[in-house]
């Protein structure tokens, strides 16, 4: 089982990296989603896969039984999923806004922030007026 999941992880990473290397923001987004899932799966597998009882303590006992699944990797994965989800949502909004502002999803065609464009003699107040 570990071998299969390890291969799945590898495929996800490979696909994620491939998509990240493309220069389209949407593909990069999907690449990062795949990578993040690959890492979550890796945490789960690295924690050790066993056929045991759920990590619950039976009523009346104060310690768990002899064989119990390790609850820590599951907690870690859960945290990582939640954080990863929040980051992906932010990235989605950011990419959409940059598409609106820059008019392209192709990173090659994004204006290289050279002299003329980066500071069209703006001061901070005009930036503020644009507002968040």
């Amino acid at each position: 089982m570990e071998t299969v999941l390890a291969i799945v992880c590898g495929c996800l990473v490979a696909g994620g990296i491939y998509l990240l290397l493309s220069q389209n923001l949407v593909r990069m987004l999907f690449g990062l989603i795949m990578l993040s899932n690959a890492v979550n799966l890796a945490i789960f597998v690295a924690g050790g896969l066993t056929h045991t009882q759920p990590a619950l303590i039976a009523a009346g006992d104060s310690v768990p039984g002899a064989s119990m699944a390790n609850a820590l990797p599951q907690a870690l994965v859960l945290t990582a999923i939640v954080i990863g989800f929040a980051l992906l949502v932010f990235m989605f909004v950011l990419f959409y806004r940059s598409y609106e502002v820059l008019g392209t999803t192709d990173t090659r065609r994004m204006p290289e922030d050279g002299p003329a464009r980066a500071y069209p003699s703006q001061n901070t107040t005009t930036r503020q007026e644009m507002g968040p």
């Binding site: 993040s36 945490i43 690295a46 932010f90 503020q128």
Partner: protein
Amino acid sequence: MTNLLIYPILLPFATAVGSLLLWRRPALQQTLSLIGSAGHLAACLFLLAAVVQDGIQVLAVGNWPAPYGISLVADHLSVLMLMVTGILGTATALYARGEMAISLRSQGFHALFQVLIGGISGAFLTGDLFNLYVWFEVILMASFGLIIWGQGRAQFVGAVRYVVINLLATLLFLLGLALLYGLTGTLNMAHLHQQIMTQESHGLVTAVAFMFMAAFGIKAGMFPLFFWLPASYHTPPIAISALFAGMLTKVGVYALIRTFSLVFLHDTATTHAVLLVAAGLTMVTGVLGAAAQNEFRRILSFHIISQVGYMLLGLALWTPLALAGAVFYLVHHMIVKANLFLVSGLSRDCSGTLELPAMGGLYGAKPFLAVLFFIPAFSLAGFPPLSGFWAKLLVIQSSLEAEHYTVAAVAVLVGLMTVYSMVKIWIEAFWKPSPDFGPDQRAIVPSAWKIAPVCALALITLCIGIGAEPVYQLADTAARELMAPQVYVRAVLGGAGP
């Protein structure tokens, strides 16, 4: 066990919550943010005093004993970094008071700013690797919001690069974490130190170590992983880019120092040798990149990279003197670099631009500003008796003692190249006659909120330079603690450990 450790984390978050509650009262929000920053600085100073007096402080959060619960640990390195965080937080909060108009549009700024400070403090204090990951995410979230603050066109280009590469670094960190947990079954750094020393398969641990090195290297701007940094740091408002320049890459450097002095010590011949080469290349590429730039903040951004090289060099040499040099360098660099970014803001207020060819005449129009630039710039370049001189001296001296003559020569050469860049800014922006177009520079007076933090940071630079001894003593103690991890492990796990 002391609760003192929680305040540097708690205060910024409480301030963030408070400023969110004051959503419709921007003026009050502003005041609260300033008070919160000052309180954070005070908390950091109290903690510094406690650590200097009683040694390493440990707090087992929720009273769960290590290694099962999360422990917060403050040793000399942590509290020194925290102290500088407090200073920079207060300075940039003051500057932001002058830069951000008090209006309903700047509602979210203070909350994000305080969350960033709280996240950085958490990263410096935690003694648990997964907790460090969580703090990294907190820092990332807040910095994502801040880097596109104002939503200028150039900021989006910078932000996309910043966000993608930093997410990749975090995922790499998490993957390394997963494999490390699979190998050792623990995430507490002190416990990891014990576990890895008894591991048999050192090859796997080394592979994981390089994963961590790449992840933190991206954050720190290490060669060859630094390209995102100069592509994004010159875009946000001045107060934000000053805080980023001062703090964020240094969190990466701190994480590298912490993990490679406490966790991955099984094979220093490999890991620290790679670090040494990377450090040398980081110094050189950073300074060469800066030489090719013609924009104030872009030059400074490239110099962050070359200076990170010096700190990594201190870690890579792995002697007490070199580590003391690295810690001293961190303290000096954070203050000086943030100050230079703030000075660039004052210059932009006067000249209306940061493009060096379009600037000029500031020395004649604003001699006081010229002095304010001169102090941090030539401290960065390493002129005696400013703080940068002692920092460079320590690192170069230790590389000579360790008989790494090539690296020492590179370090000296990079110092000279830094002088070149600083002189370039000096000549272009301050010395040469003002171009005909542009506003009348004499008529513009930057607000006192902006000048005060710049003066204060310049004063601190002077104090560190002239009274280098106390800071060196602290850095030296920090280095000795790092070289003897048993003390740290005993403080966290207590006695012989579980």
